[in-house]
Structure formats: C-alpha cells, structure tokens
C-alpha cells in the first residue's frame, strides 16, 4: 500500500473508533469536515516515511501516530481560520469549519481534535498484555507530539508569537510550523523503536523550507493552486521571509534548506527513497516554473513602469 493510502485508511479507522454514536451529530460532522478530504497530509507522510526506513515493527502503532499528528495539524487549522485569527472563508478549496457550521462548533472541533490525538495513541495501550517497551514507546510518542504542539516551543506557542509586539522571525516560524515537522520526524523514529536524535535536523530543515515555501506561494500563488486566499501575510501584517529576504532571496534559501534536508537523512536502508521524496515534495511546494513565470512578469512590469516614469 502506498503511504498516502495507508494514512487515509488509518484516518478513517481511527475516526470511527473514537467518534462513536454517542457524539453530538453536529460536532461529529464538523470534525469530519475538518479532517476529510485532507490536504497533502505532508506531516504524517514524512512521519511514516521515517518510521518505515527506521524499520517499523508495530505497524498499527505507526498508523496511530500518523493519525495523531494529522489531528493536531487539522485542529490548529480550524482554530487559525476562526474570525479572531485569520477569519478565513476557504481551506483546501472548501468552506472553513466556522463558516460551514458555526464559531462555537469550530472552537469545540479544535479542542476535540487535540484530545482525540491522545485518545488515538492511548487506544494502542488498552490491550491486555501491553509490553513495557510498547508502553514506553507510546509515552515517548505523546511526549514528542506534545512538545510539537504546546508550550514553550510548539505550534500553539508559534501562533502566540503573532500576538507579541517584538517577534524574532525565525523563532516565530520555527515554532509556528517547524515544531510539528520535527515532531513528525522524531515521532517516526520513536514509533519504530529508533533513536529520534539523528532525525531532528531533517524535521527542522523541512519545517523551515515549508514555511518559506508558504511565504513564497503567498506572493506568487493563485488561490486555485493552494486552495486558500493569497496575500494573507501582508493583509494580516504577519512577518514573512519573502518580505525580509526578497522573493529571489527566499527562493534561494528554500533550495538551500531542501538540499540540507536531503543531506541530513541518516544512513539507513531507505535513504535514497527518502531523498527522492524530499525533492519531489520540494517541487510541489514551490513549482519552479510558476516561480520563474511570476519573476519574469514582475520584472517586465517593473521595466515598463521605469520607462513610463
């Protein structure tokens, strides 16, 4: 089974397992809306690739970790889209949860998804004869995941940096986006019973690359391409690498980070496959043809306005 299909199957199974008939129908529907159909599922894919090349021996635990990670990501999207943050109407090409349902339900959906992430992992520990190493692995997975989400350096803290008057751009972006990427690579290793430390750099590089890609797409992107409104950073006055480094500087930095990510993959059986995945993903994140096209058009416009002046 391809990684994408495996993640989709796990998402469906765990959704039905946790959200039983007793759940309030609107909350259930709102949670489903937030989770299906998904986006690129890039974090669980990265996580699962690391677990597989690290020699996963408990596939159902690997699956649960992928779901937990994606639940946390979707929870943050639902809350970020709410009127008090981005006030976004569209996400993944469809209406956001608070628009489709209501603000109270969007708030509760995010909360329920955060708790559900732990429930999915805890459900892996309820069998009669749980081995000590299995128990420790689940605890460590929850630990890594919590660090990626909560205080002091997780995605929630990253969002909170937006509320500060003085912000260190890299610290902010590292927390806002990068922390769930490092959680993905490290938790993938832990799920397979491997040491997470050698996987930290891959998560950091990809997280930084992903954030810069987001900034670049926010400048060059079309709403059809990324499924959400563009120009959001400028509109919301958020710090952006594309503004600080300039578009060409940001693209050069993006390429450097992708190269660094590929180089950082530790020596393991699936090293080449994982590297190929990284380069393929990089092209999805910032299609170089789109980028070049935008650059040429904006240079032409600049020349025209210089001639006219």
């Amino acid at each position: 089974m391809q990684i994408e299909e495996r993640i989709q199957a796990a998402m469906l199974t765990h959704f039905d397992e946790v959200i039983s008939a007793g759940t309030p129908p609107s909350l259930r529907a709102a949670m489903q809306h937030a989770l299906f159909p998904g986006g690129a599922r890039i974090r669980p894919q990265l996580y699962m690739a690391v677990a597989m090349v690290s020699g996963e021996d408990l596939p159902s635990l690997t699956d649960a970790g992928a779901v937990a990670l994606e639940l946390m990501h979707c929870a943050s999207l639902v809350h970020d889209d709410m009127p008090c943050f981005d006030d976004a109407q569209l996400r993944r090409g469809k209406t956001t949860v608070h628009v489709e349902f209501s603000e109270p339900l969007a708030l509760l959906t995010g909360d329920a998804l955060i708790v559900m992430a732990y429930q999915v992992l805890l459900n892996q520990t309820t069998k009669k004869r749980l081995s000590h190493s299995h128990a420790l692995r689940v605890l460590e997975m929850m630990n890594v995941l919590s660090q990626g989400v909560g205080v002091p350096h997780g995605i929630v803290a990253g969002q909170a940096w937006e509320c500060e008057s003085k912000v260190d751009l890299w610290k902010y972006q590292r927390a806002k986006t990068g922390s769930l990427f490092t959680a993905a690579t490290c938790m993938g290793a832990v799920a397979a019973g491997a040491n997470p430390a050698p996987w930290l750099e891959l998560g950091e590089s990809l997280g930084d690359a992903y954030q810069i890609a987001d900034d670049i797409r926010d400048v060059i992107g079309h709403v059809e391409l990324i499924g959400k409104p563009v120009g959001q950073d400028i509109e919301h006055g958020r710090p952006s690498a594309a503004q600080v480094l300039g578009l060409e500087g940001a693209n050069a930095e993006f390429k450097r980070l992708i190269d660094n990510a590929a180089k950082s993959v530790p020596d393991c059986a699936g090293r080449d496959i994982l590297r190929a995945m990284i380069f393929k993903e990089s092209e999805r994140l910032v299609p170089q043809r789109e980028y070049q096209h935008y650059l040429e058009v904006s240079k032409q416009k600049q020349q025209q306005s210089e001639l006219a002046a």
Copy 2:
C-alpha cells in the same frame, strides 16, 4: 498539608516546570491569569481525596493528576467565556482571559492548557527507570482524563450539545459537567493503583449535584457570591434543571444527589472524612439560608401580585 495547599503548591510547581523562559510572554501571562488564583478547585480536591483514601503510594503522581484535571477545567472555562459562547466579562471575580488579553490569546490559552494537562502527566514518566506499573498507571490516568474531556461523552461533547436543536437535558448535563467529576473520582483511584469502578457513582452523583446547584444559583445567586453574572441560562436559552423541575424540585433533587453521593463512597479507611467533605461542599454549593431567603421573598412577591390582580 491541607488538600487545598497541596493542590496550590502542585499547580505552581508544574506551571514553572512546563512554562519555561522560551514561552511567548503574553501567552504565559494569559495562562497564568486563567489558572491563578483558582476557583474552589473542587475537581482536583475530589480527585485527591479519593487518591488519599485509596492509599496513594506515589504522591508526586497524585499531584500531577490533580494539576492535569484542573488545567482541563480551566481550559474549558477560558473557551466557554469567549464571545462566540457565553461572551462572559467576569470569571472568579476578575476579567476573563479574552477581555484581559485578546480573543486570539484566549483561544491559544485554552489549547495550550489542554496540551499542558498531558505534558504534566508525561513529565512523570521521563525518569530513567520507570516501572511498568507506573507507566501503565500514567497511561490509564490519561485515558480516564481524555474520556472526561473529549468525544463522545466528555465536557467538549457536552458543550457541543448546546449547538444541537434537540437536546436531552440529562445527557447534556452529564457530559457538560458530570464527565469531569467522574474523571476526578476514577482518576483518583487509578493514581493510587486502585480499581476505579467503585468510584464511578460518586463522580456521577456529585457531577449531577454540581450542575443542578449551578442552575439553582443561576436563579437565586448574587454576582458577588458566585463571581460571574447570574441569569445566564435564561439569557443564552440553555436547558436548565431549575426551569424543568422548578426551583423547589431542583433543590430536592440536589439534596437527593448529595445523599446518594455520600452513600456511594466505597468502604475504605477515610470513608467518614470523605462523607463529611461532601456535606460541607454541598452547603458551599447551595447555601440553604440563601435558598430559603430567596424562596420566601419570591413567595411574598407572588402573594402581593395576586392581591393586586
């Protein structure tokens, strides 16, 4: 040390342990505002009393559980107070988090507190030689806590019932308030390595009693007494036992539930102390003098309006 002091000390210690210097200052301040000074801390008190009479053998784990429970409760208060729910200005006699800080920070504070509840328990498992029984206990505590908060029957689901057009009053209240009380009694037993099942009824009875007490106070209360605006149920069109049963019916049901709670305490060394605690708490929840006074005044008013008609 008294239970109240022990809980306060644990809250302070775990706050400093999780929220290190790297946390965004406003988020840290907002989380502090949400947690200190606390309300009655009734849930962690109940939890700790059960752990103590069940023969707690790992006091630092008991402490962590009390903090985790209170963090979940405070998270739900912060989110419930937000404009899209109760739009409350006051909580515990001071301004609510979104009023004091901002809506985005209130949203993030709730999220961070939910994750922190797990972090506090997970921090109990990071020592070098963690025994298997200790690991299993922490996992089971997180399991009980998650059920009390998430879907299908936790407090988040309880809140979501408010968004449904058809609501079963008891199902709604059992989830909205009761689920964290059953989590408190059951988690207290688990923390002490005891069987949680005999403690379920105590949690259910007290949860129901607490919710009815809230409804009664919403009718008879003064804002000075309960630290938040009264008449909220009617204003928000929320189902309330005081409306369904009438005030006197609700008070009779409250007393029956308290008696039932006291009777349900399983045979254990501290049984009498725990029962005395329950009766003392019942008087705090619905001061019978206040209740009688309100009843007399409203009967006099009714007689006067009948005479005038």
